[in-house]
């Protein structure tokens, strides 16, 4: 077998040598939004980071299955629980020809923490970097951090000289204090593709970086053309007519149309994002309910009644066209720390739900207002409508307030004073690790330590807090995973949240290309092959 593969490879190489010069292969794709900036530190948003991940690189990279693999660092090890040594890759050049060295890493880390940067949280994972030599650095973390390398995957490395030459040593600021920040419209990374032209919201063209350090990437693409197409029908039409090779997202209701059309297909997979419902368990009286003087959601039986009243399979079939993955856990299977045993959803049992409500003192149910975004997640408003009608069947009258995301987030987040009683939210842990979900969504709100700030309903359990703190600094993977499991078990037993599903990634692809659909919805050009 091995021999045969070797032989095959030799033939392939020979064929390649004959076929040279390599043919130009252009890959065109469209996304609903646009690349708002080329500055890798300007916005912590998945499309921006995913796209710029083809131009810039971090010390580590995610491979097609979202495993951490060496990037600009070839190896790393912990010296003490709070110090890490990274060996950097030698012989790497930026697109502009500059050499990649330890100075660039230190510079980029400082830039990520600069005024205007939206990567400060990632930058703050490291408190100090010491240069040992040009290709060795020692990074110190404020506390033991077992998942440091995951934070580094999206902390992209820029060239120090280039940034200084063009006055781009600070991240592009939204206030325009530094007008015409060069890195906002120009890029100089180490990645496999170089930006040839970029017009925000119109068109971005990238060319293959022939000098890329990794010669083993599968792609044969020499040019990538990205156009944002806002309207879904236009996007789908552009794919079917063959003007682009890939579009995303595709509305789930268009899947049949794509499969019926010649030469294109829908590509679906579960996203690492979990959609869930949250309940205000903080206030003594709900802001939006007819129950006065007490908060029904403080009663675990009421929360459980809600959980048992919602039919996740019906949401999957009717709202998501069979494409969602119903879930019982707050993190997806792709996330480090996921516990398969906890992923079984709460059973759908309206009778038990009614019984629980009666026990809690609400035999006739009650009224509550639900906040819901209508342009943020896949079919978000429809999910809320389905939940509304399911809860109506057990006597709970939900008044649905669905709004565009700008209004919705302005109301329910900390900025709006957590102005909600019952809401729908989605979350992908930025580090792809359960600790991020625990410390953002599940621990008690604490403004001083800045933890639990996205725990909008303030589910609060001292034991979970204690475990989360320990998980944050435990470097023994087994012990750490056991603690994660314990924390999620408590959360599930207490019905702190009502997980709904992992929403589907929904791409439309031409038969002429092979792509890898990464669980964080990033399109990695390294895996794009045009036939």
């Amino acid at each position: 077998m091995k021999l045969r593969t070797g032989l095959f490879a030799a033939v392939a190489v020979a064929a390649l040598a004959v076929a040279a010069p390599v043919q130009a292969k252009t890959f065109k794709f469209a996304f609903q939004g646009d690349l708002s900036s080329l500055d890798p530190h300007s916005l912590n948003e998945s499309f921006l980071l995913g796209t710029l991940g083809n131009v810039y690189e971090g010390l580590v990279l995610y491979d097609d299955q979202m495993n951490v693999v060496p990037g600009l660092a070839v190896s790393w090890k912990t010296l003490t629980p709070t110090t890490w040594e990274f060996k950097l890759r030698q012989g790497v050049k930026f697109h502009g020809g500059q050499d990649f060295t330890a100075d660039d890493v230190i510079f980029s880390w400082q830039r990520a923490g600069s005024e205007g940067s939206d990567q400060k949280v990632r930058g703050a994972a490291i408190s100090k970097i010491t240069k040992v030599d040009d290709y060795t650095i020692i990074a110190e973390t404020p506390a033991p951090n077992p998942i440091l390398v995951r934070d580094l995957a999206f902390l992209y490395i820029m060239d120090k000289e280039w940034s200084e030459e063009h006055g781009s040593t600070n991240a592009t600021s939204a206030t325009g204090d530094d007008k015409g920040n060069y890195a906002n419209l120009n890029a100089n990374g180490t990645g496999p593709f170089m930006v040839e032209s970029h017009q925000a919201d119109i068109k971005t063209v990238m060319k293959r970086n022939e000098g890329y350090w990794n010669k083993d990437i599968p792609t044969n693409v020499t040019e990538v053309i990205f156009t944002p197409i806002k309207e879904a029908p236009t996007r789908v039409a552009a794919l079917i007519s063959g003007e682009v090779d890939l579009v995303y997202p595709v509305p789930v209701q268009d899947w049949e149309r794509l499969d019926a059309a010649k030469g294109v297909k829908a590509l679906a997979g579960p996203e690492a994002r979990t959609i869930f419902l949250g309940m205000d368990q903080m206030r003594d009286e709900l802001l939006y309910s007819n129950v006065k003087g007490k908060n029904p959601f403080k009663d675990q039986r009421v929360r459980a009644a809600f959980a048992h009243a919602i039919n996740l399979d019906a949401i999957k079939e009717k709202v998501m066209r069979g494409a969602a993955t119903p879930t019982g856990e707050m993190v997806a299977p792709q996330i480090n720390g996921f516990v398969p045993e906890l992923n079984t959803p709460y059973s759908f049992d309206p009778e038990m739900s009614k019984k629980l409500l009666a026990e809690a003192g609400y035999p006739d149910g009650f009224e509550v207002t639900m906040d819901c975004p209508n342009n943020r997640y896949v079919n978000d408003e429809k999910i809320c409508q389905a939940v509304t009608s399911m809860l109506a069947k057990v006597g709970v009258k939900v008044d649905l307030l669905a709004q565009p995301k700008s209004k919705y987030f302005g109301k329910v987040l900390e900025t709006g004073g957590y102005d909600t009683s019952f809401y729908l939210l989605g979350w992908t842990p930025g580090t792809m690790d359960a600790e991020n979900a625990l410390s953002s969504l599940i621990v008690c709100q604490n403004k001083e330590t800045k933890r639990g700030l996205f725990n909008l309903g303030n589910y609060c359990n001292a034991k979970v807090d204690e475990l989360t703190a320990a998980i944050g600094s435990e470097t023994d993977q087994d012990k750490r995973n056991a603690m994660i499991e314990e924390a999620f078990t408590i959360l599930k037993d207490e019905v702190g949240y009502l997980p709904i599903h992992q929403q589907p990634l929904s791409w439309g692809v031409s038969d002429g290309v092979t792509v890898n659909q990464r669980a964080d919805n990033a399109l990695d050009y390294r895996y794009v092959v045009v036939h």
Binding site: S37, N44, Q403, K405, E414, T415, K450, L453
Partner: protein, 324 residues
Amino acid sequence: MISFIFKRLLQSIVVMLAVALIAFSMFRFIGDPINNMVGQDTTQEEREALAERLGLNDPFFVQFGRFALHAAEGDFGISYKYREPVSTLIKARLSATLELSFVAAVLTLVVGIPLGVYTALKGKGLISKGIMTLSLVGVSLPTFLIGILLILLFGVILRWLPTFGRGDVVAIGWWTTGFLTASGIKSLILPSITLALFQMTLIMRLVRAEMLEVLRTDFIKFARARGLPDRSVHFKHALKNTLVPVITVTGLQLGALIAFAIITESVFQWPGMGLLFIQAVSDVDIPIMAAYLVLIAFFFVVINMIVDILYFTVDPRLRADSAA
């Protein structure tokens, strides 16, 4: 004449200020821009500091005053999303919108006026009735639907024309034009028809109604009695007298073409100002929205002024009045 233009200019400044004020007061209801400018992990302090730096915490009138002062100097601020000056962004898209509106306006007039004349003259003919029925479709179908139908037919099924975008453009200074390349011209066809269809039918129906009116008047009868040829009666005498209301409506509709290109632009992903604006609305990018609305108000004001001046040339009675 000059005092008239001067008066008009003064009025237009008031109009634009009023538009800006109304627009600005609306922005407070669109939502919180900060959440669109940061990622999910950004801390509350960061968010608040950003709002402070952007001046979003200032009282409404302070924000408005700052905007108006800067706008008077031609500075519309920095886009929250793209972090580029709004004037640069708008300049890059102005040519796309103006070319599209121009082609649509030409289509409107070149098709609308002759059809109007034809249906007025041959009201009983079969073709005429057919055109009138079809025009109902043009008036009643929403632009969005027409655009999607055209894309489906000519882009997806027949594959004659591109489904989105502007094709290849040639840059002449800061102006980019699609007129000079084959793909640019092909890309213009569907959006301009979509945009023009409503206006076309409107102008056609207006010309027809006016023509019918004029054809009944005494001076037409007299012209016929003088034995003038039909062509001269219809086009020299009748059509010319229908033009005053047609010019008014055309002028206003030209403004509408530019303003309502929003829908056409988003259906065809036409990289113009309308698309920029609609994107800005969902991102609560206040500087872009404010600049766009003021600019559109400016277009309307200028077009109105041109229309008023045109009256002088078309209608001799106005000239007589002002001379007296």
